[in-house]
Symmetry: C2
Subunit: 365 residues, 2 copies
C-alpha cells in the first residue's frame, strides 16, 4: 500500500476556502485554504485516507482514558492510518491506541480538526484533544479549528475546558478555535453583517408599490412603505430585491439599479446592517398579498406616497425619496450590476457600478 | 412591596434591539425588542427584579432534581420573585423550589432566557429547562433564545438534548434557539456577510499608493495592489478604508467616495463577502510599512500601475481600474457618505449616495 500517495493527494480533495484577515488581491478575498470544509453540510468522503499528525514521541494512551472505544475511528487506524510527523517521514501504525485527532494543515500554519472523524466517546475526545494540543504546540502550530456538529455537543465543554473559544455557529454546528502563539489571535473574524434590500417599484401610472406590515413598530404605524427584507444565504442583492417584492406583493419585477445604501451598527446581536435600496421595473400589476408578513399592499399614487407625514418628517426617509425622484427624472446615477470573473479566485461575482457615460443622463437602462 | 411595579418596569430597562425577519420601516430594520441583550458584553444589572414565568400548575420541583442548589438564584426568589402567569395575575412565592428559568418576553411571542441568571448546577439547569419548555409551550410561546456564556459551556449539551439548535456564537458565548410552533422557524438568521474595503489613493504626481502582501496567493505573486482589509466591528466603511491604508502604509488619507462594490458568495465559512472600493485623498506622503502583513509599499506611477499584466489580463481588475480612471477624469459618479438619523429607530447611520447634480461632473467633493 502506497501510503505516501494518500498523504499527498487527500488534502486537496477536501480543500475549501475561507477568508484570512486581509485581502490578498487587488480586491478579492484572501483565500485561506484549509484541509476540511467549514460548511455544516460538508460531508467528508469516508474511505479516503486523510493526513494526520503524529503523536508526540509516539506516546501511547492508556485504555483508562477510554481510547479503546474510539469505535469507527479504529477502522481508519486499523486499515492504514499513516502518521506524517515533523520530520516528514511517513510511517504506518496498526495499533489502536496511538492516536491524535484526525486533522489537516491549513496554509497559515494552523490545523483543522476533521469534524467527520471525531471520537464519539467524550473521554476519548478529551484525552486525544489534550494530547493533540500538546503535539501541535510542539510543532509550532498557530490557529486550531475545531468544528463540533450539533449531535456531538457533549464535546463542547471538553474543548472549552482545554482553552478553546467559540468562533461562530450555524444551526447544525459550532466552530471553536484555539490560538496557540503568544499575542492576539490572528484568526479571521466571524461574519459581521446582515444584508437587507428594499424595492422601489413604480408603474406607468406613476404609482408606487407599497405595503403595510403586520409586525411594525408603533412609530411606523400607518406608514405605506416599499417592500423590504433580508437577502438569503448566497443570494444576490438584485435577486433578493426582486424576490422580496414578489413574496410580499405577488408583483413580478426586474432589477434596474441600486440607488443608495445605508450602513447601521449594533442592530442584531451586536452585528451591523447594510441595506440596499433598489429601483425595480414592474413586469406585472396584479397584487397578491403575503398573509404571513403583510397586512396590506397597493399601488399608491407617487404624490400621495411622498406626502405621507411619516416620510416628510423623517430626514432619512425624505432623503431616500428625494434620490428616488431624482432617479425617476434621470438626474441621478444608480449602480447597476455586472457579472465578473476574476482569475485570481476563479469566482463569479457581482460588481456594482455606474454605467460610465459622458451625458447628463447617467442611466444606462 | 409593590411587585406589580417591578413587572411593568423591569423589562424596558433591559430592552435592546435585534432584527426580525423583515424590515418594518421604509428602509430601516425591523427592530425586534427583546427582554435582554444579546451582546456578550451585556451585563444584566443585578438587584433589579425581573419578570419571570410561572411554573405550570404551580408544580413543585423535587430536591432530587437538584433544584435546591440553584445558589444565587435563590436570592431573587427569596427576596421577592413574582410570577406573572397566563392569567395576568401577580403572585409572589418565597419557596426555593418553585422555579422556571428567569426569562423575558420578546415582542414576537418569544422568550429570552436571562444569561446572567442561569443556574450554575447543570442538573438544576436540566430540570428547569425541561420545566420551562413545557411551560412556554403551554403558554403558546414561539421562539426561545438561550445565550450560554463560554464559562457555562457544560450547559450546551443539556440544551441540545432538549431540542435546541445553535443560532450563532461569538468568542464568549453561544446562542441557542428553540422554535416551538409547527412549521419552519421564523427566527431571524445569523449574520451573513463580512465586509471588506480597499483604498485607491493617488497623489499630485499621479502616483498610486500600492502594496505587496506577505501572504498572497501564487496567482497574485508580484502584483502591486491597493491596500485592502476587513472593517472592524461597528466600523464605518469610510473609516475602515482610511484605517487600513494607514495601518498598511502609514499614509494618512480622507475618504472621498465609494466608487463600486463587489458581492461574492461562499467565501468564508459559507458566508458572503461585500467589498467596497473607495477613493481616498492622501494627506501625507511618507510611507511606513506594516511589517506584519505587508512586504513592500510604494507610490507607483499610475501608468505603471495600470499596465501591470496581472491587472490588464483580469476582467474584474481591469473594470475596477477603468472606473477609477473615469472617476479621476470626473466622468464617473461615486457614492459619498452622509450621516442620517431616522426617528423611527433613533439610530445615526450612514447613507451612501451620489451628490445629485445636473452637470456632467457628478463629483461633489
Amino acid at each position: 500500500m502506497d501510503l505516501k500517495s494518500f498523504s499527498s493527494t487527500s488534502v486537496s480533495t477536501f480543500e475549501v476556502d475561507h477568508v484570512g484577515r486581509s485581502y490578498s488581491t487587488l480586491i478579492s478575498s484572501f483565500r485561506h485554504k484549509v484541509g476540511v470544509g467549514f460548511s455544516p453540510h460538508f460531508k467528508c468522503r469516508r474511505g479516503l485516507f486523510l493526513r494526520t499528525y503524529s503523536a508526540p514521541d509516539n506516546t501511547y494512551l492508556t485504555d483508562k482514558a477510554g481510547i479503546s472505544s474510539v469505535g469507527e475511528d479504529n477502522l481508519a487506524t486499523e486499515t492504514g492510518l499513516h502518521i506524517n510527523g515533523t520530520s516528514g517521514s511517513i510511517r504506518s501504525f496498526y495499533t489502536r491506541n496511538l492516536r491524535v485527532l484526525d486533522a489537516f494543515d491549513d496554509e497559515y500554519g494552523g490545523v483543522v480538526v476533521d469534524p467527520d472523524r471525531l471520537p464519539s466517546n467524550p473521554y476519548t475526545f478529551a484525552a486525544l484533544l489534550r494530547l493533540s494540543l500538546s503535539h501541535w504546540k510542539k510543532m509550532g502550530k498557530k490557529g486550531i479549528w475545531l468544528k463540533l456538529p450539533l449531535e456531538q455537543s457533549d464535546l463542547v465543554p471538553i474543548a472549552v475546558k482545554e482553552g478553546f473559544q467559540y468562533h461562530h455557529a450555524e444551526p447544525g454546528y459550532v466552530m471553536l478555535t484555539y490560538w496557540i502563539p503568544e499575542g492576539p489571535s490572528m484568526l479571521p473574524a466571524n461574519a459581521s453583517h446582515q444584508v437587507g434590500v428594499g424595492g422601489f417599484v413604480i408603474n406607468d401610472n406613476n404609482e408606487v408599490l407599497v405595503v403595510q406590515e403586520k409586525h411594525c413598530s408603533p412609530a411606523t404605524l400607518g406608514l405605506w412603505k416599499i417592500p423590504t427584507g433580508f437577502i438569503l444565504e448566497a443570494e444576490e442583492i438584485y435577486t433578493g430585491a426582486v424576490r422580496e417584492v414578489k413574496e410580499e406583493t405577488g408583483i413580478e419585477t426586474e432589477f434596474i439599479e441600486v440607488i443608495a445604501f445605508r450602513h447601521a451598527h449594533n442592530v442584531a446581536f451586536e452585528k451591523s446592517d447594510l441595506f440596499f435600496i433598489c429601483m425595480l421595473r414592474p413586469l406585472s400589476l396584479k397584487i397578491n398579498v403575503d398573509d404571513l408578513e403583510i397586512a396590506a399592499a397597493k399601488w399608491m399614487p407617487l404624490v400621495e406616497f411622498l406626502e405621507q407625514p411619516l416620510i416628510q418628517e423623517d430626514s432619512m426617509f425624505k432623503k431616500i425619496v428625494d434620490i428616488f425622484i431624482a432617479r425617476l427624472g434621470k438626474r441621478y446615477c444608480g449602480l447597476s450590476t455586472h457579472q465578473v470573473v476574476s482569475k485570481f479566485d476563479g469566482m463569479v461575482s457581482s460588481l456594482y457600478y455606474n454605467v460610465i457615460d459622458n451625458e447628463d443622463n447617467c442611466v444606462g437602462n
